[in-house]
């Protein structure tokens, strides 16, 4: 009841503010060409009849009563609710994923390239475009792609994260995981996962040196994605 009393004065003031604007709208300029009245009356009779709308095509079999989430995943993983492998989870590992040929063929290609199209020429073109885009992104940071310095930066980053986590369960000594935990999990889970099929494990090995980060990733995986095979 008290809440209603609070809202009604606001509504009243809102109604007051709209009135003057409706008065000012009536003074907008007249268009320089106006359809003659008989033509307007004739056109006003149309449409003479409106038919029911056409059915949508079969491919549009989407459940519109709920929200839909579009993610990168396989059919089995989607059925069991396993984590997805969206490229945005792996965008900071640009070099390890896209520009290391062994990893590109074993990890990126089967997940991102092969499902798009069945034609080999198209697949080759998309692979090339993807690798070029990754190289361009890396070149934005520095004039040349220096692999060693990239890995040194990554190791420093893992060290910093490991220090920040310390002995806590979740970052910032929280009881439950927050947005930061989820972001870190998105990187570490896919890097450490065996089923992803990493061939060149340099980046994963650098991460595995920090036990607390590995345990953090397993903790979240067990709590939220339990009873499932890892991605």
């Amino acid at each position: 009841m008290s809440q209603d009393d609070k809202t009604t004065p606001e509504n009243k003031t809102q109604a007051n503010t709209t009135e003057p604007s409706s008065k000012s709208s009536s003074s907008k300029p007249k268009p320089w060409f106006d359809t003659p009245a008989p033509v307007k009356r004739l056109f006003g009779r149309f449409p003479l009849q409106t038919y029911a709308p056409n059915h949508l095509p079969l491919r549009t079999a989407v459940d519109r009563s709920r929200n839909n989430l579009y993610i990168f995943t396989t059919d089995e993983a989607a059925g069991s609710g396993a984590p997805s492998f969206n490229p945005s989870c792996l965008k900071w590992q640009l070099y390890a994923l896209y520009l290391t040929p062994s990893n590109f063929d074993s990890v990126a290609k089967p997940r991102y390239i092969l499902p798009t199209c069945s034609n080999p020429l198209v697949r080759q073109t998309i692979s090339y475009q993807l690798r070029q885009a990754a190289a361009t992104e890396l070149l934005k940071q520095s004039p040349a792609i220096d692999v060693e310095s990239l890995f040194r930066d990554a190791e420093k980053a893992w060290e910093a994260l490991s220090e920040l986590l310390g002995d806590d369960g979740y970052f910032f000594a929280e009881e439950t995981p927050g947005l930061f935990d989820a972001s870190v999990f998105a990187y570490t889970h896919l890097l450490l996962s065996e089923t992803m099929g990493w061939k060149d494990k340099k980046l994963a090995d650098a991460l595995a040196k920090h036990d607390n980060l590995v345990r953090h990733s397993e903790r979240i995986s067990h709590k939220y994605f339990d009873e499932i095979e890892p991605a």
């Binding site: 709308p53 056409n54 059915h55 949508l56 095509p57 079969l58 491919r59 549009t60 989407v62 519109r64 839909n68 579009y70 798009t116 199209c117 069945s118 034609n119 020429l121 198209v122 073109t125 998309i126």
Partner: protein, 442 residues
């Protein structure tokens, strides 16, 4: 003109006065009439000459094509050799010889490498030439080659878009009527389009022209009616057969990579579901029979076009599989007005078009479910080119604000064209009263 006084002054006076314009006109008219009479007499004499000698038996000793430096001899001999070899077996009459050679000249004209008209000359070889017989004749074809490079640039406004284009045509590249056509255009709706096509005639024994074409296309079109941008990259090979009367059959294989990208922020779930890449590998047959007197403003005749496309079935593979068929017909008749002699300029034209897209199972997997159609392949109806009175792709199934297209459609129209009173019948301007409609069915 004559006047009294000193003769020198009269001459100068008359010269200064100038020639009487009316007199000059009459003189010119008389001269033209004389010229015309001479020409008519010449033509009549030539016709009489040919007529009186039409049954003269003759053997063609040589056919020469003059002024064609860039055309290959082998190419020309392919057209005219059959005439000479047929002649070796039995002598032609003069009329037959002229007819056969003019059929060859007509074929030459259809290759579009020579200007019209191609002139034909007949002569007797020199009597002192030992290899000639008394019945021998020499035939000369005088041609004028069209320029081998044609560059056209321009702007196009119409069909709800504006565009600028550049077109480069290289004719008769290797001397055998091969042509290379390069086209680039940028526009408001078709953002960019680049096309290259190489065409060459294939020697064939059938009456009519057989041509082969190979080409490629890269284009990007903004489809605002469905909130996306479609990028196409493809290549094709075509075999074309054009009969002497102008009927065309085309059989082609094409592979196209289509991308639906650049989705608008409010794109519907149907368009989002179709977004991404798809590869279409298809065989198409097209039949065109155009008997209208003018394609843009037809007043008499009819036009028929059918299209049959099979994609993704069996060995074709690809990502989409369907059978598509489309029919387009148009007919026009002039309407004579009771008080007006000759062409009244009023004409009635009707048109009908229909299309069907039938999804099939992909590849060799004949038992699997057919792949449902995608927005790239469905038909779009509505707009100034097909059903007027509707926005571009304004008819049909709609998901939110997006027009997603349909699998089966039909549309018809009837137009009555009147000439504009002051402007007249000869100018290509008309008032048009039209009635048209169309719809989808599923």
């Amino acid at each position: 003109m004559a006047s009294s006084g000193a003769p020198d002054e009269t001459i100068f006076e008359t010269l200064r006065k100038g020639v009487d314009p009316q007199l000059q006109e009459e003189k010119l008219r008389e001269a033209a009439a004389r010229q015309h009479a001479v020409q008519v007499k010449e033509q009549r004499r030539l016709a009489e000459l040919i007529d009186s000698n039409s049954s003269l038996p003759c053997t063609i000793s040589s056919i020469r094509v003059l002024n064609a430096p860039h055309t290959r001899k082998t190419f020309l001999s392919r057209i005219f050799d059959p005439i000479i070899t047929a002649n070796k077996e039995r002598p032609y009459t003069l009329a037959e010889a002229i007819r056969e050679v003019s059929i060859g000249a007509d074929k030459l004209h259809r290759y579009d490498i020579f200007h019209q008209p191609i002139s034909l000359f007949i002569d007797r070889p020199s009597k002192t030439d030992p290899s000639s017989t008394p019945t021998d004749i020499d035939i000369y074809l005088s041609v004028r080659e069209k320029s081998r490079l044609l560059l056209k640039t321009g702007t196009d406004v119409g069909n709800a878009e504006g565009s600028a284009y550049g077109n480069l045509l290289l004719r008769n590249i290797f001397g055998g009527a091969e042509s290379l056509n390069l086209n680039a255009s940028l526009g408001t709706r078709t953002r960019s389009s680049y096309q290259a096509a190489f065409e060459a005639p294939i020697p064939s024994a059938t009456p009519g022209d057989l041509r082969a074409e190979i080409g490629g296309l890269a284009s990007s079109t903004q489809n605002a009616f469905a909130s996306h941008e479609e990028v196409l990259k493809g290549a094709w090979t075509k075999t074309r057969w054009i009969s002497n009367s102008g009927t065309r059959h085309e059989l082609s294989y094409s592979g196209t990579w289509r991308q639906i990208t650049g989705l608008g922020s409010s794109a519907s779930p149907t368009v989002r579901g179709d977004a991404g890449d798809s590869f279409k590998s298809s065989i198409t047959h097209t039949y065109i029979n155009d008997r209208r007197d003018n394609a843009l403003l037809p007043t008499r005749g009819y036009f028929t076009k059918t299209l049959l496309e099979l994609a993704g079935w069996g060995p074709l593979q690809g990502d989409v599989a369907f059978a598509k068929t489309e029919l387009q017909t148009q007919g026009a008749i002039p309407i004579p007005l009771p008080g007006v002699q000759g062409d009244s300029g009023v004409s009635l034209s009707t048109g009908f078009r229909a299309g069907l897209l039938y999804p099939l199972s992909l590849g060799f997997d004949f038992d699997s479910k057919p792949t449902p159609s995608r927005i790239n392949d469905r038909f779009q109806l509505g707009g100034p080119a097909d059903v007027r009175g509707f926005r571009l792709s304004g008819l049909g199934p709609r998901d939110g604000a997006d027009s997603v297209g349909g699998d089966l459609y039909a549309a018809g129209s009837a137009n009555l064209l009147f000439p504009i009173p002051r402007v007249g019948v000869d100018r290509p301007f008309r008032f048009q009263a039209f009635v048209n409609g169309g719809g989808y069915s599923l």
